[in-house]
C-alpha cells in the first residue's frame, strides 16, 4: 500500500490537490478494474482458446493489459481535468500522468483470492467495482488526512473548492503568520505518511488486542 502512496506524498501540500489526486485515482482505479474484469470475461470466457491459463488472453500478459488500460484512463482523466480545472491540473503537474503507476501498483496488490472463488459474471463485476471503489476511498482518506495536516501546519491555510460566498481557502489564524514551511517539502510528506502508517498499525494492534483480552477474560 505504501508503495502506491509514495508519489502521492508529493501532492499533499494543499488539500485541494489531494482531493483532485484522490478523484483521479478513484476514476482510474474503478474504470481500469471494471474494464479489466469485463475484458477478462469476454476474451477469456470458458470454452474459448486459452482459458484456464492465467497469463494468456488477447493482450498477451494480463499485466500488460492492465498497464494499457490504466494508461488510457489516466490520459483521459488528464484531459478531463485539464478542461474543467486547468489551474489545479497545472499545480499537480507530472503527478497526474503518474497516476497510472499508482493504479498499477494498487491493482497488483489487490490481485488476491476473492476473485477466484466467484464464478458468476455479475458478481465478479460487482466485486471488482467494490474493491476498486474501496481502494480509491482509502487512498482518498489517507491523502486528505496527510494534506490537512501538512497544509494547516505548513502554510496555515486549508484550500478547498470555492463555493458561493466561501472563497475556497480557510485561513488558520495563529499559524498562518509563521507556518512551519519545512512540512511542505517532500520530506514533510513522507514524515506525515510515516506517522499515518504508524497510527494505522497502532489501531490494528489495539483492535487485535481487545478481542483477545476479552476472550482470555471469558476463559477465566
Amino acid at each position: 500500500m505504501l508503495v502506491g502512496l509514495c508519489p502521492a506524498a508529493a501532492v499533499t501540500g494543499r488539500v485541494i490537490d489531494a482531493l483532485w489526486m484522490s478523484l483521479g485515482m478513484a476514476f482510474v482505479l474503478i474504470l481500469t478494474s471494471l474494464s479489466r474484469v469485463i475484458l477478462h470475461l469476454l476474451l477469456d470466457a470458458p470454452g474459448s482458446a486459452g482459458s484456464g491459463s492465467r497469463e494468456s488472453g488477447l493482450l498477451g500478459s494480463r499485466w500488460l493489459g492492465v498497464l494499457f488500460l490504466a494508461a488510457c484512463f489516466t490520459a483521459s482523466f488528464e484531459v478531463i481535468m485539464g478542461a474543467f480545472a486547468p489551474q489545479e491540473s497545472a499545480a499537480l503537474g507530472i503527478y497526474v500522468p503518474l497516476l497510472a503507476v499508482n493504479c498499477i501498483v494498487l491493482e497488483r496488490l489487490a490481485d488476491g483470492s476473492p476473485r477466484r472463488a466467484i464464478q458468476e459474471n455479475g458478481a465478479r463485476i460487482f466485486r471488482a467495482l467494490g474493491a476498486a471503489a474501496s481502494r480509491g476511498a482509502a487512498f482518498a482518506v489517507a491523502l486528505v488526512l496527510i494534506s490537512v495536516v501538512r497544509e494547516t501546519l505548513g502554510s496555515g491555510t486549508i484550500t478547498l473548492f470555492p463555493l458561493g460566498a466561501f472563497g475556497g481557502t480557510i485561513v488558520v489564524s495563529g499559524i498562518s503568520a509563521a507556518p512551519a514551511r519545512a512540512l511542505l517539502f517532500a520530506g514533510g510528506g513522507f514524515l506525515c505518511l510515516g506517522y499515518l502508517a504508524g497510527l494505522v498499525r497502532l489501531a490494528g494492534r489495539l483492535r487485535n488486542r481487545r478481542p483477545r483480552a476479552a476472550g482470555e477474560a471469558g476463559a477465566q
Binding site: A178, P179, A180, R181, A182
Partner: protein, 364 residues
C-alpha cells in the same frame, strides 16, 4: 548500580564505554556553559529566554514522548543537552516559538520516533534546528548587535561578507579590510585595542592589524547565541577531551579539512584566486567550532571505528566548506553534519577493522 558491579554484561559493540550516559551528558552541559554564558552576557535577556525555552521544551517533550511510547523517562540529561544545543544554535532575537518548535521536533520526531536515546540516526539537536531554519528562515536571521556597536546595525560577519561580495565590489586586501571598507560596525573597544596593538607592538615590525581582529577573537560579534565565542568553546572542548568524553579524531579531521578547503578554494568565489581564502576568519565566525566539537562528536550518530571517524571528519569539513560557500547562508554546519550522519554507518562499514581470529584456521 552499574558502577558498583565488577563485571558489566552488555551486547556488542563493546567500545570503551566506561562513561555512563548521565555523566557524559552532564559533562557536555558543563562544557557548553561558558560559551552559552558568554552569549547571554553579550546579547542579554533575550538570549537567556531562548536558551531556557529550548531546554525546557526539550525536557518536557522528551518526558511526554517517552510516556507516549511506553519507554522509561530518562533522567540522564540527554534531552537537556539537546535543548541547550538547539538554543545555542539560535540567533538571540528569534521569536520564542522557533526554539520551542525546534526542540519539540528534534526530540519527538528525530529522537523518540526512531527509538529513543541511542537509536536516532540523526543528531536530534541539528534535526530540530534544520527543521526550524527551513520553516522560519527569516526569523532565524534576527541578530542582535554585539556590545559596543551601534544598535540596529547587526549583521553576522559571514552574512555581511556575502552581501558585500554580492555588491560586486572586489575586496582588496584581507577579508576584514573589505568588511571595514563596507562600514561593518566593529565595537569601539575593538578599535582601541587594535590601534594600541598596531602602534605599540606591530609598528616595530612594520605590520598592522585590520579592525575587527579583537572582536572576532573574543567573540564580540553578532551571531548565534552559542557560537560567537570560539575561545570559550575551545575551553569546553578541552575539558571534554581531557575527560575523554569526546575523541579527538572527528574534530581534528573536521577542522583541518575545513580550514584547508577554505584556505585553498575559499578565495575563488570572491575572485581572489587560489590559496587566498581567509580560513581563520571562516573559523571564527559561523558555528564550525561548536559543530565540530559538540555535535559532530555525538557518539550515537558518528562512526564507531577510528578510521571511520577520521573519514567522517574529513567529509564534514568538505561539506561544510561547500555548503557555506555555495549554499543558503546559515545552513552550512547543520546541514553538513546531518549529511554526515547519513553516511556514518557506511563509513563504519568501510573502515571496519579485520576480525581478530583468522577464520581459515578455525575452519580447518
Amino acid at each position: 548500580m552499574a558502577d558498583s558491579t565488577p563485571l558489566t554484561v552488555s551486547p556488542a559493540p563493546h567500545v570503551g564505554g566506561l562513561i555512563s550516559s548521565a555523566r557524559l551528558n552532564w559533562s557536555l552541559a558543563l562544557s557548553l556553559l561558558p560559551a552559552s554564558a558568554w552569549g547571554v552576557f553579550l546579547f542579554g535577556f533575550p538570549a537567556l529566554q531562548v536558551l531556557a525555552v529550548a531546554a525546557a521544551t526539550a525536557l518536557v517533550a522528551d518526558a511526554a514522548a517517552s510516556l507516549a511510547w511506553g519507554r522509561a523517562v530518562l533522567r540522564d540529561g540527554s534531552a537537556a543537552v539537546t535543548g541547550l544545543l538547539i538554543g545555542m544554535l539560535m540567533p538571540p532575537a528569534v521569536p520564542l516559538y522557533v526554539p520551542a518548535a525546534a526542540s519539540a521536533f528534534g526530540i519527538i520526531v528525530v529522537k523518540q520516533s526512531f527509538g529513543g536515546l541511542g537509536r536516532n540516526w540523526m543528531n536530534p539537536a541539528l534535526g530540530g534546528v534544520v527543521f526550524a531554519l527551513f520553516s522560519w528562515a527569516d526569523a532565524a536571521t534576527r541578530w542582535l548587535p554585539a556590545r559596543g556597536t551601534p544598535a540596529g546595525t547587526a549583521a553576522a560577519p559571514l552574512a555581511a561578507l556575502r552581501s558585500a561580495l554580492a555588491g560586486g565590489a572586489q575586496p582588496t586586501g584581507g577579508v576584514l579590510s573589505a568588511l571595514g571598507a563596507r562600514g561593518y560596525p566593529w565595537s569601539s573597544l575593538d578599535g582601541r585595542v587594535v590601534s594600541w596593538v598596531n602602534v605599540h607592538v606591530l609598528s616595530a615590525v612594520g605590520l598592522s592589524l585590520p579592525g575587527g581582529v579583537f572582536d572576532l577573537l573574543v567573540g564580540n560579534i553578532p551571531g548565534r547565541i552559542g557560537d560567537v565565542s570560539v575561545p570559550l568553546l575551545m575551553l569546553g572542548a578541552a575539558f571534554l577531551l581531557a575527560r575523554r568524553v569526546i575523541r579527538w579524531q572527528v574534530p581534528v579531521a573536521y577542522l583541518a579539512s575545513f580550514l584547508v578547503a577554505a584556505q585553498v578554494f575559499g578565495g575563488l568565489p570572491m575572485g581572489r584566486g587560489w590559496f587566498a581564502g581567509a580560513a581563520l576568519f571562516q573559523l571564527f565566525c559561523g558555528s564550525v567550532v561548536l559543530g565540530a566539537f559538540f555535535m559532530a562528536t555525538d557518539p550515537v550518530t558518528s562512526p564507531l571505528t577510528r578510521g571511520g571517524r577520521v573519514a567522517y571528519g574529513i567529509c564534514l569539513g568538505l561539506l561544510t566548506f561547500l555548503l557555506r560557500y555555495f549554499g543558503t547562508p546559515g545552513f552550512g554546519v547543520p546541514l553538513a553534519i546531518l549529511l554526515g550522519n547519513c553516511i556514518s554507518p557506511l563509513l563504519d562499514k568501510i573502515a571496519r577493522p579485520r576480525a581478530a581470529s583468522p577464520r581459515k584456521a578455525v575452519v580447518q
